[in-house]
Amino acid sequence: MQQAFIDFFYSTGFVAMTWQQLVMIVVALVFLYLAIGKGFEPLLLVPIAFGMLLTNLPLADMMRAHTGHDPGGLLWYFYQGDELGIFPPIIFMGVGAMTDFGPLIANPKSLLLGAAAQFGIFTTFLGAILLNFTAQQAGAIGIIGGADGPTAIFLASRLAPELLGAIAVAAYSYMALVPIIQPPIMKALTTKEERMIKMEQLRPVSKIEKIVFPIMVTIVVSLILPPAATLIGMLMLGNLFKESTVTNRLSETSANALINIVTIFLGISVGASATAEAFLTAETIKIVVLGVLAFAVGTAAGVLLAKIMNKIVGGINPLIGSAGVSAVPMAARVSQVVGQKENPSNFLLMHAMGPNVAGVIGSAVAAGVMLSLFG
């Protein structure tokens, strides 16, 4: 009897716990606090942080792979959706079903801003190479600067699965920090006069344009960058479900039940990939540093191109350039808020939505480039 208790005692997690696991549990609790207490991206950080917590509970072994007769851990099954590249495109479909590309179609030169903001991705790539990552890892790290969670997860799962946890956590954390990271950069690079520029009203966009747009983008981008077809295709299919108006049931489900289910599974399992041994490494610290660099450079590149465009054609408030990093719709809101502080009658939101959704296409294109070169 006594022996049985001793045996039991040695089967508890207290005994098996390493200090690394303890650190990870604390990190998970901090993320939970940020998500719930501070409202930072809770829809993703809550499941990610909880997955991180579960995966670091000693002996629970919820990421154990299914082998032979051993049924495998629950989180491992969820993780297959990330690893096989199934979940991110489904989330993209849901995102497409919630996105209005109207502001982009009305003002297509926003696309240039959405391209410029991807500069952060490639400079971070350079930085990661200098920090001794492989080209594959550097590509996956760089994409953090795309400010697009599913794209980052999709690319990391293909190029550097070993870094998926750190990259996903960094990507979502910085997306949550967009309102803190971007404003100082935006102010430093613009003059008060530029920030006060009012922009012309956007033209109305017809239903037919909104229907043709996703089909056209799918074909063009996929032909130039075949590896981007999965992400862009699913994004645009979701959008077509929405804009066609004859498939409301499908767009509703894509943008609700389906995206929520996949978000839960993806969030938990992405967090679960951040086990102590995979996460508490020098690489993670490098990724965290490179990630904020990526965001900052992307923001700056967007603002600077908008500044130049304003100098050339006029009527463009450079504050909308920062929205090109994606992080829809938060980056666009930041443009709005910063702009309105200078000039309370200034409404930049819709103008910033153009570069913002262009940034989503832009980072999918950048991801396609990385896959094309290193996939």
């Binding site: 991807q118 239903k207 819709m350």
Partner: protein, 137 residues
């Protein structure tokens, strides 16, 4: 050793470890340049195609009523993001606007709603009927 080989070695995780820093930086710069050029190229091409699309599709439709987003003050912009045929929804949007501009919500009052058509009502029932329509799925 030409650049083709450089890029090839760069793309191979094992060979890449053996490259010296100078070569790595050159390869990375090529990637940066290539990446930014392609990104700009693709998005500029889309710009052009949107222009063509607009010219083809929008001209004969000029008389049609505008469907979507007009750059208006905050309030109506927010409204256009959602299904504008849904009064309840618009009400909610107003609520959001009110919230974001820090004004008391009570100031928004939907004064009068009349239903004069024989439309079927609701949420659930719409879905039901649409399902019936698509029964052959």
């Amino acid at each position: 050793m030409d650049k083709l080989t450089l890029m090839e070695r760069f793309a191979d995780p094992e060979l890449m470890q053996q490259m010296d820093t100078g070569d790595k930086v050159v390869a990375a710069l090529i990637v940066t340049l290539l990446g930014m050029i392609i990104t700009f190229l693709v998005l500029t091409l889309l710009w052009g195609l949107i222009g063509i699309m607009t010219r083809i599709l929008d001209r004969p439709k000029k008389e049609q009523q505008p469907v979507a987003p007009v750059a208006t003050p905050m309030s109506s912009i927010e409204a256009t993001q959602d299904d504008d045929d849904d009064d309840a929804l618009i009400a909610v949007i107003s609520a959001a606007i009110a919230a974001s501009i820090q004004r008391p919500i009570q100031t928004i009052v939907v004064k009068n709603i009349k239903r004069t058509t024989d439309r079927m009502p609701a949420w659930a029932s719409v879905a039901k009927h649409e399902q019936l329509d698509s029964r052959r799925i």
